[in-house]
């Protein structure tokens, strides 16, 4: 009996749609992270360092290797807004 090719059409459609949405999702994540894969498994250290990167460079994943911080760095910390919750 010849190969039932009509049965493979929905299989191809399902694979195609899964693949297309997966590829689209990956491209979206990479574009949000400025051309790099997203960071995962972040602990408090990484979150605090990423927040410091945001204050230094202005974008979430931007990196720079300057010696001295720019002048805005001394006034853009929102730490003083935090209140004590007892």
């Amino acid at each position: 009996m010849p190969v039932p090719f009509e049965a493979l059409i929905p299989l191809g459609l399902i694979t195609g749609f899964f693949g297309a949405s997966g590829i689209l999702f990956q491209k979206l994540k990479v574009s949000v992270n400025e051309g790099q894969p997203p960071r995962y498994g972040l602990d408090r250290w990484d979150r605090v360092m990423m927040e410091r990167d945001l204050r230094l460079t202005g974008t979430m994943r931007g990196q720079s290797h300057q010696t001295t911080a720019p002048a805005e760095f001394s006034t853009n910390s929102a730490w003083d807004l935090e209140t004590e919750h007892l």
Partner: protein, 149 residues
């Protein structure tokens, strides 16, 4: 009771302090972000060992933020000194290594090749070596084969 709640206002975006501290208390801060610092971490550790240990021992006495400002400034100055030396001598290799780290979730294992060139450059120009304390056998960054031996 100490809560481990994280700060809520820190990553809300652009913020400018309306009442900044007086300019007499302003000191220069390190301008390198997380990936270059992680890349140069072992070199900062060996270059600035005395100042870092001073600061940690001082903090051990009293954890108040106002207590160890002088030692903290020394640590900052030493790190800035090393960063400017690295920028002078090994900037390209450093950039290659930390850009690789950024692509790989800042994991060292994924970037051994750029790390090797960077370590060689730093060793030849600045005489600093990456030493992992208490490493048994060959340190992980010097092994050719990490999957099987």
């Amino acid at each position: 009771m100490a809560t481990h709640r994280e700060a809520t206002f820190l990553s809300t975006g652009k913020f400018v302090d309306p009442t900044p501290a007086p300019p007499e208390t302003a000191h220069p801060e390190v301008g390198a972000t997380s990936a270059p610092l992680k890349s140069a971490a072992y070199f900062i550790g060996s270059y600035c060992k005395d100042y870092n240990e001073d600061f940690m021992l001082c903090k051990d006495e009293n954890n108040d933020p106002a207590h160890c400002l002088k030692e903290g400034r020394k640590v900052t100055r030493c790190a800035m000194d090393l960063i400017s030396k690295l920028r002078e001598n090994c900037e390209k290799e450093w950039e290659a290594h930390y850009k690789c780290l950024e692509k790989n979730n800042q994991e060292y294992y994924a970037c051994r090749k750029p790390e090797r060139t960077f370590n060689e450059c730093v060793f030849s120009k600045l005489k600093l070596e990456k030493v992992i304390p208490d490493a048994s056998g060959t340190p992980i960054h010097l092994r050719e084969n990490t999957i099987y031996n």
